[in-house]
């Protein structure tokens, strides 16, 4: 779909919101349609040139701005939005299926009846094709059966701060933090809580299965977060200057599989089939644990510190097993 089609679609969807007696709030329109005020005004200026034959001023779409509200008139034929398209229905079906699989909704319940009503609003051919395509797309979402689920959801719904004990995998330590929860995210095959961390003074992602305990805090979460920036997840992480430069040499393809997990890693292939993977990380602790699984199939070329850590851990653990 071209940018122009997308814009046309947006304009046709926007007009109905502005044709009511009370008009519409400009900031709310901008938020809802993800546009700036300038873009909105540009759209209105195009609409203002459109209308019905004979295209005399009395037949053209008109608008006026009062304070932060906008009123559109002479557009009765656009007073209701265009019905759901096949893509929109498809999206709702795929998402609905994922949420049911994840256990967020029961198989028979409000979601399934709502989906039936959506299907009822489509033409017969479209229901068939949207549900046929939806059945061929499987979006993985595990059920989040964390025992903290109820309390985290309570924090999210009531906009209350949470006090969490969190295990940081990269630093290999458990710490207590006060966080303002925003939303739950499913990404990379794991559940995360996206929250503002008062200690880090920034948004952070907390993997649900690394949360050791949660308590509901007293403080209210300030403000509404309409948009959030998803902080770098594992893999998109860009370490700073202080990061260690790590060079590993793998005998075979497992090196390439590892590199797929960290797209920032640099992979060099050698004629003998072995693979060098270079990556940067701020903490070596997690990596030393992670490398144990490869046994003798990986050679740590640098840094020395990582080699020391791995040999220290391996011998400590071998004693546990002897």
């Amino acid at each position: 779909m071209t940018t122009q089609t997308r814009r046309l679609q947006r304009m046709l969807l926007m007009v109905p919101f502005m044709t009511g007696e009370d008009g519409a709030s400009i900031p709310e329109l901008c938020r809802r349609f993800g546009v700036s005020k300038d873009e909105l005004m540009a759209d209105l200026n195009v609409l203002w040139m459109c209308g019905l034959p004979d295209y005399t001023p009395g037949r053209l779409i008109d608008f006026r701005v009062e304070g932060d509200r906008v009123f559109v008139s002479m557009a009765d034929y656009f007073a209701r939005p265009f019905r759901l398209t096949r893509e929109e229905a498809l999206t709702i079906f795929v998402a609905g299926r994922a949420l049911i699989t994840a256990g967020a909704f029961p198989r028979k319940g409000p979601l399934s009846t709502a989906l039936e009503k959506v299907a009822g609003a489509l033409s017969e051919g479209e229901v068939e094709s949207a549900s046929a395509i939806a059945s061929r797309i499987d979006v993985e979402m595990e059920s989040y059966s964390s025992k903290w689920r109820t309390i985290i959801e309570k924090g999210l719904k009531e906009k209350r701060a949470l006090l969490i004990e969190y295990y940081s995998y990269s630093r290999d330590e458990v710490s207590e933090r006060e966080v303002d929860p925003y939303t739950l995210l499913w990404s990379h095959g794991h559940w995360y809580l996206l929250a503002y961390c008062h200690d880090a003074k920034d948004d952070r992602l907390f993997r649900l299965d690394r949360i050791k305990s949660v308590e509901l805090g007293a403080a209210r979460v300030e403000g509404d977060r309409e948009e959030f920036r998803v902080p770098a997840l594992v893999g998109e992480y860009r370490p700073g200057r202080k990061a260690h430069q790590v060079r590993l040499r793998f005998a075979g393809v497992e090196g390439r599989r590892l590199a797929e997990k960290w797209p920032a890693a640099k992979v060099t292939e050698h004629d003998d089939g072995s693979i060098t993977v270079e990556l940067r990380t701020r903490n070596l602790s997690w990596l030393s644990n992670y490398l144990l699984r490869f046994g003798d199939r990986v050679k740590i070329e640098s840094p020395k510190e990582l080699r020391r850590l791995v040999s220290g851990k391996a011998s400590e653990m071998l004693e546990m097993y002897s």
């Binding site: 997308r6 459109c50 034929y77 265009f82 949420l99 993985e140």
Partner: protein, 329 residues
């Protein structure tokens, strides 16, 4: 006139008029400022209709009594019907439409439009709702969009693919049947023309743009076999589970990380807390390799107690890692 204005005018007039309009009617109204002869204008009109159809707006052709052709957009087909949702259904639908907002998938745009449309009649459903979002790694966004298009329109797609065990990529032409995500990665399932069989492609091993066939865009290039099921493709495992019966494994966790005992993929059979705060858990293990990988990630904070096959595997890995690290000194 700007194309966007022309398309709005065309939609407006066809929607507003109760009776169908002929092309002559349109020529003297919507197309009156356009330059070109009758043939060129008719072509322009045909393209405009196509464009509207791409957006889902159907311009219907109606034969008129005097052998002329009329065009109309029917209100019933255009306007959003009232969904008449119960309050609990509204909440459910709002949560569903939000799932893919900002997800980096081709679902993000339609999700936002759907949310707006539902909000038009039902109002915003924000409060009392735990938000859940689905986020995809950004590097796969463009490939996903193209694959979705091929999947929906049933068109061949082509790309350059590098299998994990090959050093050189090969060009593939594929009939996209299905798409799934697993452990955080996207996979395409389809009939591969190069290999002549059903194949599964991991999206991050696609090393070129994905191109959708543009020949005869209105007609599908293939049929999806009736017995195709995405679930059976998605239940495929790597590494393939060994030919072993499920083994029962016991692991002891140090107090510090004991809380995470159920974070793995193996089923927990039982668990008990010891006085010193450590925890002993029993698992049903289908894939010993993967299980050992997981336990080793805990470093010294987890120890496999039984069975001997697994402790043996762990010890072997540790000895290997130790020998390799010592040799490098």
């Amino acid at each position: 006139m700007d194309k966007i204005e022309r398309l709005i005018n065309l939609t407006a007039v066809l929607l507003d008029k109760q009776s169908p309009l002929t092309f002559d009617d349109l020529k003297s109204t919507v197309y009156r400022d356009e330059t070109g002869g009758a043939v060129a204008l008719k072509k322009m009109f045909e393209r405009d209709k196509e464009e509207l159809r791409d957006m889902g707006i159907e311009v219907r052709t109606v034969p008129l009594s005097d052998d002329r052709t009329g065009y109309t957009i029917e209100g019933d087909a255009y306007y959003l019907p009232h969904l008449e949702l119960e309050p609990s259904e509204k909440l459910a639908l709002a949560m569903v439409s939000r799932l893919f907002l900002g997800s980096g998938t081709p679902f993000a745009g339609p999700a936002q439009a759907a949310l707006c449309k539902i909000a038009f009649d039902e109002g915003d459903q924000g409060d009392g709702l735990a938000e859940i979002h689905w986020v995809s790694p950004p590097r796969e966004r463009e490939a996903l969009a193209a694959i979705m298009e091929g999947l929906a329109k049933r068109k061949f797609i082509t790309f350059s693919y590098r299998a994990l065990d090959r050093s050189e990529p090969s060009e593939r032409e594929v009939e996209p049947y299905g798409l799934f995500s697993k452990n955080g990665y996207w996979y395409l399932v389809g009939q591969c023309h190069l290999r002549g069989e059903l194949r599964c492609f991991k999206l991050d091993r696609i090393v070129s743009d994905v191109k959708v066939s543009r020949t005869s865009p209105r007609s599908p290039d293939f049929e999806v076999p009736e017995d195709f099921e995405i679930e059976s493709s998605a239940s495929w495992e790597w590494p393939p589970p060994k030919d072993l019966e499920d083994v029962e494994a016991r692991v002891v966790f140090a107090p510090r990380l004991a809380f995470a005992f159920s974070s793995g993929r193996s089923k927990v059979v039982s668990s008990k807390r010891h006085k010193d705060g450590s925890l002993e858990a029993t698992y049903e293990v289908a894939d010993p390799e993967q299980f050992v990988d997981w336990v080793l990630e805990f470093g010294p904070d987890a120890r496999v107690v039984s069975p001997p096959e697994l402790t043996g595997m762990v010890a072997e890995r540790l000895q290997g890692a130790l020998a390799r690290a010592e040799a490098g000194k």
